[in-house]
Structure formats: structure tokens, C-alpha cells
């Protein structure tokens, strides 16, 4: 898909975020400025886009920038809900709805890539829901346990 110099010139400014840092990038006539200062993209850097993530490789380090879009915030899970960070199998469930848990308690154990991944309570509270069963294959982002 060709975005040529002309279109590049029309490219609106992009805001990217890593951690707490935001970078405002403008492209004007093929020249790139970051926060108003012209930069020269390093020759050996490599980058790919994946949805709103921009993966950048340079000298052995990898940076994951997130494109910030106005009016569309990335849906973040509720404070008390815990989900798998990757596809995994639920190996063991230690809690049931109504159970009181302390910060650091192991709520359930997932298994992925032959490793066990304990899911621990991020804070003290009560188990509201458990929405998985032992042996179930779960996908990332799907809520497994909710605390309140």
C-alpha cells in the first residue's frame, strides 16, 4: 500500500506512548519531528505495526509503542478482575465465590508451555466470580476471577 511523500505530508501527527512517556510525532515533507524537534530515524532500526502496537528493534532492544487515539481509549479490565496473559490451561482453582482472600494468595494455577503460572490476588478482598473450570483452555484477556 503506497503512502507516498504527498500522503506522508498529509499524515496527521501521531501520539505514541511507552510507559508514562508520550511522544508526539509529525511527518512533514518526509522530515520527522518528535515533540517539535527534528530527528533522524536510525538506519539500523526495524519496525512493524500490529494493531495499535508499534514494535521497534534497535541494537538488541525492543520497544513497544502504543498509538494513542483520541476518543477511543483502550478497554482496560476492571481493577479487581484477573485474566490470563496468554493462552493457557487452567490447572487448579483454589477459590470459590464468596471466599475471602489476602493479597498474594494463589487463586488459581495456569499452565502454558509446560510451565505453571500461579495467579495471585493483587489485593485483599472477596472473590466475586470464578468464570473458568479446571482443565479449561483459556484465551488472553478473558476474565477468570473477579475480586471485590
Amino acid at each position: 500500500m503506497g503512502v507516498d511523500r504527498q500522503l506522508g505530508a498529509l499524515m496527521p501527527s501521531t501520539t505514541l506512548r511507552i510507559g508514562d512517556h508520550e511522544y508526539r510525532v509529525d511527518t512533514i515533507d518526509g522530515r520527522v519531528t518528535v515533540d517539535g524537534v527534528e530527528v533522524e530515524p536510525p538506519q539500523r532500526a526495524l519496525a512493524v505495526a500490529d494493531g495499535d502496537t508499534r514494535w521497534v528493534f534497535f541494537d538488541g532492544e525492543v520497544y513497544e509503542f502504543e498509538v494513542q487515539r483520541t476518543g477511543r481509549r483502550r478497554g482496560t479490565a476492571h481493577q479487581g478482575s484477573l485474566s490470563a496473559p496468554m493462552p493457557a490451561t487452567v490447572r487448579k482453582i483454589n477459590v470459590a465465590p464468596g471466599d475471602a482472600v489476602n493479597k498474594g494468595d494463589t487463586l488459581l494455577v495456569l499452565e502454558a508451555m509446560k510451565m505453571e503460572l500461579p495467579i495471585r490476588a493483587p489485593s485483599t478482598g472477596t472473590v466475586k466470580t470464578v468464570s473458568c473450570t479446571e482443565g479449561q483452555l483459556v484465551q488472553p484477556g478473558v476474565v477468570l476471577v473477579e475480586l471485590e
Binding site: G2, Y23, T27, W55, F58, G60, E61, Q79, A84
Partner: protein, 499 residues
């Protein structure tokens, strides 16, 4: 006896490694694959391929009858097990022998005798090889295991009796967590090896992990091919291995070599094997203890291939055909310095959490003294089902310092995007002053964890690169960017992931 066709009962980089050696020896290869590996690089590398079942290892790469049937059905006269999966199952070697298929490795009897930690230990004590104090309690209940832990003393290691590779292993350093640790070890042990029997052992503080490569032939000749220092580990999984070990004096090296050969001789060892030792202390006063014997080719065998100038897999093929060892002990020397770095799909900053997903961009380094063994290609999905090791980078140079520099520069050229890896972490380990000075022990990563897992700020110029990645104006990567479909974001929940 000449081998004409080999079935490779494995996947990933090791299957490709074995395929390459077979081809050099003029031997045909048959790959096996699960539903998760249709069209995987190891499948494409072989002359033929046979589907052996569903993605779950128990239904494919661990399914003995189906694999034996594949070997017979394709007219293979030998089978190479690689490492992991069935490579250390005596029943598998026996099934091959019964089916008239040569098992490229030791005999079933050898695997059996070394496979049980209890039996191996007794055998080693008999053979005069020093061992670490430990016990497999007859009472395998939590109470029985806890009693054993207390008698050995804290901290103790609880680990799979049948195991290896750090699976099913836990450190118990207090009564309070003992039950959870024992349960976890038993479950992992059951899942990985189909056997939940646990072994309890004294944990040596700040030990080094040094292993000796051994090799035997069918005529009773056994040699060692020096050591590999494997102290850089996390969660009992090796991360960086090197040879020579910066810690061994010539005297200790010779003593360990002799002990390893004695260990191998005690089980009539045939083919490539490794005797693992814990090393306590330094200089000529260092003590070493037999840990276990891995009755197979090791992940880190390229380190030995580099410093000894040998091809261990070709030698395995020759020995399996009944040929005598291609070397004598006197003909073997250690030359230069080799370092292997294991590239894992994992996030070191999030407790080394394994990662899965699609490789959006994958560029390997190359150059003099650089070897990459990989089982992956750009554009493919890294499945969640198998081991998170993506590739191995092995470098060889004249000195340890030069090998470290070479490894760092190679890693700085090793671009993997789309999945988080430990590459930047590996660079920080290699560049750490304590690593450079050779001050290694198995707790190295935990000790220096904060320094090794920092996430540096990108330069502002890289924000420019990132912004351009969404357009086609970044040369050489635009095509990749266009091909990639937005995928489900596994990190959406990373904030709520307890750690």
C-alpha cells in the same frame, strides 16, 4: 550395519539439527508433526513427514505406539529422539529395539538405570563418584516429603524423580510454603513425565553447575569432551552455557572428566550423554558432586562442538551403525572459547512469563564464529503448547572476552518482533561485570535481577521510527507491516496480572 533412513521423533531446532547431520551422512530423514506443527520448519526440512496426532504433546510427540508405527510404516531403520519428549524414556528405547529400529542413543537398560535419581545415586556411590546428600522418601505424601525436607534441612530442593530440564522442581526454604511447593512439583512432574514421584535434596548455596560431555561406542570405549559451565539459569532452566568453565583448574577438570567417564562406564554408556555436577568452592579446593546424568544429546551440545571441533550428531549416527568412536581421549582438545545463549519467548521483566504469538519479524545474526540453531520462521505462530525456546545462538572466539564481545554484537543484530523475547536480557547478562569476571553461580540471575531486567527509555528518534511503521515509508519493514493482521492483544491484561 548401515543406516539408510532415520525417523526424527522431535520438533523445532533439534529436529532440524538432526536432519542436517543425517543429510551430510547421506541418510534420508522422516519428520513427525502434530496438528500445531503442520508445515513447521522441521517438517519442511525433512525428506518426508508423518502426522502423529493432536497438538497436545501426550497425543503426539509423547505417543510411543504412533511414533513407532510411523518409523515402521516409512521404512526407517533408526530413530533419533532429540532432547526432551521421549528421549529419556526407557520404554521408548525398548519399543524401538523390539520393533527392530535402532534407537540413536543409549540402551533402554542404561536409560532405566540413570533415569531413576535414587538408582543413579546408589550406582554413582558404588562407582566412586561423589554425590549430594538427598533422599526419595518411601512415604510420598505431603507429610512424608515434608519430613524428608526437614531431615535434609532448609533450603531443600523437591524435584521430579523421573525428571530433568527443571520441570517439576521447587525450592523449599520454609515450612509455610512447603505444601504449595510440593503440590506444584508433583503436578508438574506428573504433567511432564507421567510420574509424580518426588526426590528431596540438599541445596548447595551459590553452587556452579558444570557438566561433562561423555561419549561411548558399542565396543565399550568411553571418552569425555570436557565441560560446559551452565550456571546462568532461571527457574532451574539453563540460559547461557559456555566452555571452558572460567572456574575449573586443570586439576579439577581432569578429576571431573575421569569421574564422568567412570559414571558412564558404570552404565555401559553408548552414544552422547552428559554428566551434570554441582561445583562448590573455587580453585584446586573446589568440590564437585554428581547431580544426574542426561542420557541424550543436550540442548547446549553446540558449545562442545565448537571448542572440541567435533560433530556430536554425526558421531551419534556413526556409533549407532556400530562404528568405533571417531576420537581417542588423547586426540581431543579444547580450543578457544564458546558461549551459547538460549533465546526464549518470554518476558524477563514480568517474571520470565512465557510468550506466544506470531513472529512479525525475525532476522538472525550471521558472521564468523556465529551459529544459530532455530526452529522458527518469520510469519509463523509460536504455539503455546511447547517449550518457549525459540533458538540458540552459539559463538566461538579465541578467548572468553572475545567470545562475550562476539555474542553481544550478534545479539544486537538479532531482531525478533511480535513476541517478547529475552534477547536484551541476554545482552545485559553477558555485559554484566560479574559475568565478564567469571563470577558465576546458579543464583546469578536472581542476585542481579533488577539490573538485568531494566527497560531502557527509547531515544526520541525511535518514536519517529515507530510512527512511520504504520505507513509504508519505513524501508524493508513496510511489507511486513502491511501483511500483519491486528491480533488479539495478550498484554491487554498485563496490568492486572499478579506479580
Amino acid at each position: 550395519m548401515t543406516i539408510g533412513r532415520v525417523l526424527i521423533a522431535n520438533r523445532g531446532e533439534i529436529a532440524i539439527r538432526v536432519t542436517r547431520a543425517c543429510r551430510e551422512a547421506g541418510i534420508e530423514t522422516v519428520a513427525v508433526y502434530s496438528d500445531a506443527d503442520v508445515d513447521a520448519p522441521h517438517v519442511r526440512a525433512a525428506d518426508r513427514a508423518v502426522r502423529i496426532g493432536a497438538a497436545a504433546p501426550s497425543e503426539s510427540y509423547l505417543n510411543i505406539p504412533v511414533i513407532i508405527e510411523a518409523a515402521i510404516g516409512t521404512g526407517c531403520d533408526a530413530l533419533h529422539p532429540g532432547y526432551g519428549f521421549l528421549s529419556e524414556r526407557a520404554a521408548f528405547a525398548a519399543a524401538c529395539e523390539e520393533a527392530g529400529v535402532i534407537f540413536i542413543g543409549p540402551t533402554a537398560d542404561t536409560i532405566e538405570r540413570m533415569g531413576s535419581k535414587v538408582g543413579a545415586r546408589a550406582l554413582m556411590e558404588q562407582a566412586g563418584v561423589p554425590v549430594v546428600p538427598g533422599v526419595t522418601p518411601a512415604d510420598q505424601s505431603n507429610a512424608g516429603l515434608l519430613a524428608a525436607v526437614r531431615s535434609i534441612g532448609f533450603p531443600a530442593l523437591v524435584k521430579a524423580s523421573a525428571g530433568g530440564g527443571g520441570k517439576g522442581m521447587r525450592t523449599v526454604d520454609a515450612d509455610a510454603v512447603a505444601a504449595e511447593m510440593i503440590d506444584g512439583a508433583r503436578r508438574e512432574s506428573m504433567a511432564a513425565f507421567g510420574d509424580g514421584t518426588l526426590y528431596v535434596e540438599r541445596l548447595v548455596r551459590r553452587p556452579r553447575h558444570v557438566e561433562i560431555q561423555v561419549f561411548g561406542d558399542a565396543h565399550g570405549r568411553i571418552v569425555h569432551l570436557f565441560e560446559r559451565e551452565c550456571s546462568i539459569q532461571r527457574r532451574h532452566q539453563k540460559v547461557i552455557e559456555e566452555s571452558p568453565s572460567p572456574a575449573l583448574t586443570p586439576r579439577i577438570r581432569a578429576e571431573m572428566g575421569a569421574a564422568a567417564v567412570a559414571a558412564a562406564r558404570a552404565v555401559n554408556y553408548r552414544s552422547a550423554g552428559t554428566v551434570e555436577f554441582l561445583v562448590d568452592g573455587a580453585g584446586d579446593a573446589a568440590q564437585f558432586y554428581f547431580l544426574e546424568m542426561n542420557t541424550r544429546l543436550q540442548v547446549e551440545h553446540p558449545v562442545t562442538e565448537a571448542v572440541a571441533g567435533v560433530d556430536l550428531v554425526r558421531a551419534q549416527l556413526a556409533v549407532a551403525e556400530g562404528a568405533p568412536l571417531p576420537w581417542t581421549q588423547e586426540s581431543l582438545t579444547q580450543r578457544g572459547h564458546a558461549i551459547e545463549c538460549r533465546v526464549y519467548a518470554e518476558d524477563p521483566a514480568a517474571g520470565f512469563l512465557p510468550q506466544a504469538g506470531r513472529l512479525l519479524l525475525y532476522r538472525e545474526p550471521s558472521g564468523p564464529g556465529i551459529r544459530v540453531d532455530a526452529g522458527i520462521v518469520e510469519g509463523r505462530e509460536v504455539p503455546v503448547t511447547y517449550d518457549p525456546m525459540l533458538a540458540k545462538l552459539t559463538v566461538h572466539a579465541e578467548t572468553r572476552a572475545a567470545a562475550i564481545d562476539r555474542a553481544i554484537v550478534a545479539l544486537r543484530q538479532y531482531a525478533v518482533l511480535g513476541i517478547r523475547t529475552n534477547i536484551a536480557f541476554l545482552i545485559r547478562v553477558l555485559d554484566h561485570p560479574s559475568f565478564r569476571s567469571g563470577d558465576l553461580h546458579t543464583g546469578f540471575i536472581d542476585q542481579h535481577l533488577d539490573a538485568l531486567t531494566v527497560r531502557p527509555e527509547p531515544s526520541t528518534a525511535l518514536a519517529g521510527v515507530a510512527a512511520l511503521a504504520g505507513t509504508s515509508s519505513v524501508r524493508s519493514t513496510a511489507h511486513t507491516a502491511e501483511r500483519v493482521k491486528p491480533a488479539a492483544d495478550p498484554w491487554a491484561s498485563i496490568d492486572s496480572w499478579g506479580r
